[in-house]
Amino acid sequence: MSAREVLLSARGLAVERGSRRVLSDVSLELRKAEALVVVGPNAAGKSTLVRALAGLLDPAAGEVRLLDRALPDWPRDARARALALVSSEEEGPDALSVAERVGLGRYPHRGPFQAMADADDTAIARAIEQTGIAALAGRRLGTLSAGERQLATLARGLAQEPRVLLLDEPAAHLDIGHQLQLFRTLDEVRGRGVGVLAVVHDLARAAQWAERMLLVAGGRIAAEGEPGAVLESAAAQDAFGVSIRGVAIADGGERAWRFEERPRG
């Protein structure tokens, strides 16, 4: 696993919002085909981390490297071909159709003036297929549920055909069926060598999907490693203020998770 190529890395990353430091001394690596999940309590700095990794926020210290090149050195369009960000907060205009929204993911490849080519149509069709929204392709965003809109945003990210996919709570509005579909899609994408980093709220789901877990608390990385070990660490229990216990399920090494409130001291 450690032999896999590093796609995205951060060293000593710090981000300030106004004069407040919301992220300090973050170092991480995302490798080829890796499933890396970021968890943490509310306001821990998870979204800030993802945006800084995507180059949308300028770091106050440290640096982010994408494919071994510092992020600010990338031309905008080339960066958008190498790295895609999918956030649950994004909502396109109501009148846009799903297919049109996904098609805008080809902007980094075609720029303002170049005509769309077969490769674009293929990428768009595949992204729509993979996210399971083929039946919605002609619908306008305004007529969709929050979960369906989220899948359309994910499809836009896939249509970018990036090597690194960053997701900020991609499962936030999804029902269980769509959640399973989402993580299966992410695994398919990883099968093509794409490194996937996702902020996920549902700890059990996060542990089930990820190869590696980062716990962010108070703007720092509080724990890192095998998901089960991170969840059961004292750092995780302190960060969330709950007790977390894995219970082995009969077959294989899979665990179910029990979360209980801890009396606040």
Binding site: R51, A54, L56, R76, D77, A78, R79, A80, R81, A84, L85, S87, E89, E90, E91, G92, P93, D94, A95, L96, S97, E100, R101, L104, G105, Y107, P108, R110, G111, P112, F113, G138, G142, R156, Q160
Partner: protein
Amino acid sequence: MTAARARLAVPLLAGALALALLLATAKGSVALPFAGVLQALAAKLGLSAGETSLDATGQTILFTVRLPRVLLAALVGGGLAVVGAVLQSVFRNPLADTGLLGVGAGASLGAVLAVHAGLASAVFFALPLAAFAGALSAVLAVYFVAGASGRTSLHGLLLTGIAVSALAGALTSVMLVATEEFRVKTVLFWLAGGLEGRGWTHVQAAAVFVLSGVSLLVLLGRPIDVLSLGEEEAASLGLPVRATRLGLLGLAALVSGAATAAAGSVPFVGLMAPHALRPIVGPLSRRLLPAAFLGGALLVVLADLGTRTLSAHYELPLGALTACVGAPYFLLALRANEGRG
């Protein structure tokens, strides 16, 4: 789904506009026969030998009064509709419009200043340029106040637009008091909007700015669409967000400035045409902007015809007419928009 309707929209609108142009050239205080108008136009364009049933007076009315006026109406309407559609994408709000954002008031102020200073009659492009400067100031003020956070709510946008409009309107009134009497009528007339007495020089001035601005905006359709996804997503797709947004607002101000310089304030066209056409052709700019241009042109050509024919005694103000239709339209659209939450 709506692909067939979307493809039909532009040819249908173009056909309707051609008919409206013909109707508007023929009708008025003096009615000209359709056949004569068509023959004279064909002769002028070198399409026929030059036989026309129109007499000399009729030809003078056609070529020096009606035709420039009607073409100017089309340019003004088309330009304002395209600007409305672009503002709606840039501000991510389907109800944004030149009038509501204070752009119209800013353009008027700029133009009134030019008239006051006597520049308008002295320098050929002074009026459109002054209106452009006013429109640009207004749109930048709204952009930096309401859009400072990157996300513009409908309320913030409208309230900022009201404040900017009020300020520009107040300054316009001050200018009005200070303006020499013989110019006051020009100023007043132009605040109400109208195309009375416009000739070919006006058409030329408007055509230069409106057609070049609109062409550039259509060319920039894809960046406009990416921008409509929101600042963050646009940036993550590699779009230089600030530069693009400022460039688009500059072009929008140029076009609306030229339209205002030509016709005064003609409110709600930029709201109605794109709003009505978006459900048919979809929101992608390469398709929406040309359709909006035709729709806006159609609207203002018909409205201008209305100003000349609705009353037997007066010529009605064009801006008042579009406002009488547009304000109720806006209220209904607002209600539908709020209803969806």
